[in-house]
């Protein structure tokens, strides 16, 4: 057999890099460069004040000394954690059902679960206002049919954000989890059953360890998506406290405070980057093992 000539190898190598160059350049120019600029600007002394250079942490101190900013940040973190918890609580059992059921109903359930993928967030927000809002469908049903007057609407409350974001992320979570579960082969579980493992034991000792990576991936992506949510908290959330996405937009375009908004953005970015690092580690470790 002939070994590939060095020039053709060189060409393959070059072609590979040429193919990934445009997306890499886009990433560098449109994401990393402006993000880096923003980070640098937030620690530079105010140039408008006549000072040309020097570093400062004033903007961050201002942020953490402002009770409203602090409460918005902790509100965002709390809402994110609660929302991600509910996303798992709803989606994991559903994904297990979809993986192991062979009935025709399961197919219908899958279609229903994935359907929200095609509904834009803003439509979802307005639909929920009509459905769960004051005098909405649920409220009216409870009043008229069950004669129950005590319904508390989640509209304009933190629970509205949690509910809508949970619902918004169902299709994506189900997609990743069912894909992960399909990699758990029937034969593995049958083998465990043959040696007398109960369903619970098969779940804890076979499925869970195999599902670790898909679970981590969903966890990371849902945290990042929920943390940075804008439309739903904007339309369904309370006036105070606010989630960071809404707060940033407001600081930027309503308070006309560009550097304040930039500082908030960097703080949000750093928090999400921590989760992002976990995601990258999870994904690359998987690749390493395959190789």
């Amino acid at each position: 057999m002939l070994a590939p000539r060095p020039s053709s190898q060189w060409r393959t190598w070059l072609a590979g890099y040429a193919l990934i160059a445009p997306p890499l350049a886009l990433l560098a120019l449109l994401i990393f460069f402006p993000a880096g600029q923003a980070i640098v600007r937030t620690v530079m002394l105010d140039q408008d004040a006549g000072i040309t250079s020097g570093l400062t942490l004033d903007r961050y101190l201002n942020f953490f000394n402002d009770p409203i900013a602090r409460s918005n940040l902790s509100f965002t973190i709390t809402v994110t954690l609660i929302t991600v918890f509910f996303q798992f609580a709803v989606c994991f059992p559903l994904a297990l059902y979809l993986r192991f059921s062979t009935s025709r109903i399961a197919g219908a359930v899958q279609v229903l679960a994935l359907f929200p993928l095609f509904v834009p967030g803003v439509i979802l927000a307005f639909a929920l206002i009509r459905y769960l809002g004051p005098r909405g469908t649920v409220d009216t049903f409870l009043r008229v049919v069950l004669n129950y007057e005590g319904f508390v609407t989640p509209y304009l409350r933190p629970s509205g954000i949690v509910f809508a974001l949970t619902r918004d992320h169902i299709p994506f979570t189900i997609l990743v989890l069912t894909a992960g579960l399909r990699q758990v082969e029937d034969s593995v579980i049958e083998a465990a059953r043959d040696v007398g493992a109960t369903s619970l034991r098969a779940f804890v000792q076979i499925i869970m360890p195999l599902m670790q990576r898909p679970l981590l991936i969903v966890f990371c992506l849902n945290i990042i998506g929920t943390f940075g949510a804008f439309t739903i908290p904007y339309l369904l959330g309370p006036a105070a406290p606010q989630m960071m996405g809404v707060y940033m937009q407001q600081t930027f375009s309503e308070y006309l405070d560009r550097s304040g908004a930039e500082t908030q953005a960097v703080i949000s970015f750093v928090l999400c980057a921590l989760v992002g690092a976990l995601y990258v580690r999870t994904v690359t470790r998987r690749r390493g093992e395959r190789a």
Binding site: P67, I68, S71, I129, G133, P134, R135, G136, T153, Y155, L156, R157, Y234, L235, P238, A239, A240, P241, Q250, E254, Y255, L256, D257
Partner: protein
């Protein structure tokens, strides 16, 4: 930098009237489907071009920059009419960019409501204001508050029945908050026009407005759940969650017309000092090529039937004095007609208003 449109030459035998607006679709629809065809039918020598600059740059202000540049170089600005409040750019008035508009060149100007006139270089042609919209099936007319302090009292006595939108999410909430600011600063809206940058002493006075609004915070809908926009506030009124909101007059009329709001919804304005609003103002560049066409359009817009149309198809307020209208229209609207409509400078003052409100009224942090 956005690129401003170039105007096509008019069909032979006609001259262009180029109108620049910064308006929502209900207004541009009204122009394209009703006004322009009717005008071109009546004045066959003119071809009207509508250029809407909604949502780009500085609105018609960007276009005024082009007019300034055109004047300096002696070029044709290609504009007959601009919807623009010249007070926003006082230097353009000083430089003689605009044509003076009065009854001598616009005969119908003699019927215009004096309160709507803001400058001799502008001509108002339609208005809207923020007012109280309430459900007359639930609130007796005699109980409807007619002053700002009376409203605060009413809200405290009827907890959960009133709401207003967040001030940065729409003018209905924004102008309600401005009314509270006017209340504590001597009811003198002109104060805020004294300088371009907010005067720190006046900014400090806003704290009193935050106290006023904070005093009804717990008594508004769902203990301070302020809806995020003009229409969300109206929807709470529509579904009976609240019985009174602050709202734009034209949006209330359109919502009643479309059946979103029940016909029992009525409007009321404060009699001591109305809530802010404004009139859309035409300005005509002094150097325009088609001055006759421009003046013909402005005069035509101030005809009585056009102005009735402002009320009926737009839900706006006419710019003509109310005695120029049929009796039944007058009585239908007499509870909301204000002689003066206060205005607000916006810009950096908006930032002060929004920040102050979020930090001191809507906040969850104990002060």
């Amino acid at each position: 930098m956005k690129v401003l449109p170039t105007i096509a030459p008019p069909p032979s035998g006609k001259t262009n009237i180029n109108i620049y607006l910064d308006a929502d679709t209900n207004i541009t629809d009204w122009y394209s489907n009703i006004l322009i065809p009717a005008f071109e039918k009546e004045f066959t020598v003119y071809k009207v071009n509508l250029i809407n600059v909604k949502g780009v740059g500085n609105g018609t202000g960007t276009f005024v920059d082009r007019l300034v540049a055109a004047k300096q170089t002696g070029a044709d600005g290609q504009a007959e009419i601009v919807e623009f409040d010249v007070r926003g750019r006082p230097e353009t008035v000083k430089d003689g960019l605009w044509l003076k508009l009065d009854a001598s060149n616009v005969p119908n100007a003699k019927g215009v409501l004096p309160a709507a006139v803001v400058s001799e270089y502008n001509m108002p042609y339609r208005g809207s204001q923020v007012l109280l919209a309430y459900d007359s099936a639930k609130i007796k007319e005699s109980d409807v508050p007619r002053t700002f302090p009376a409203l605060l009292e009413w809200v405290k006595k009827n907890p959960g029945q009133f709401t207003y939108g967040r001030p940065d999410k729409g003018g209905s909430g924004g102008n309600f908050v401005i009314r509270a600011i006017h209340e504590v600063t001597g009811k003198d809206p002109q104060k805020f026009y004294a300088s371009v940058d907010p005067d720190p002493a006046l900014v400090k006075d806003l704290d009193k407005a935050w106290e006023l609004l904070r005093s009804i915070h717990e008594s508004t809908y769902d203990k301070g759940s302020y809806p995020a926009g003009n229409q969300p506030a109206l929807l709470l009124l529509a579904n009976g969650s609240v019985n009174m909101v602050s709202a734009w007059s034209d949006q209330v009329l359109i919502n009643i017309d479309k059946g979103v709001l029940p016909p029992t919804i009525k409007m009321a304005q404060f009699t001591d000092l109305p809530m802010s609003g404004g009139y859309a103002q035409y300005a005509v560049p002094a150097g325009t090529k088609n001055k006759e066409g421009a003046l013909a359009w402005v005069n035509w817009m101030l005809k009585q039937d056009r102005q009735v149309d402002v009320i009926k198809s737009l839900g706006g307020f006419p710019a003509l004095k109310w005695d120029q209208f049929p009796k039944e229209l007058q009585t239908q609207f007499n509870s909301v007609v204000a002689d003066t409509i206060p205005t607000w400078p916006g810009g950096k003052w908006d930032a002060e208003r929004n920040k102050g409100w979020y930090e001191k009224v809507a906040t969850n942090i104990k002060q």
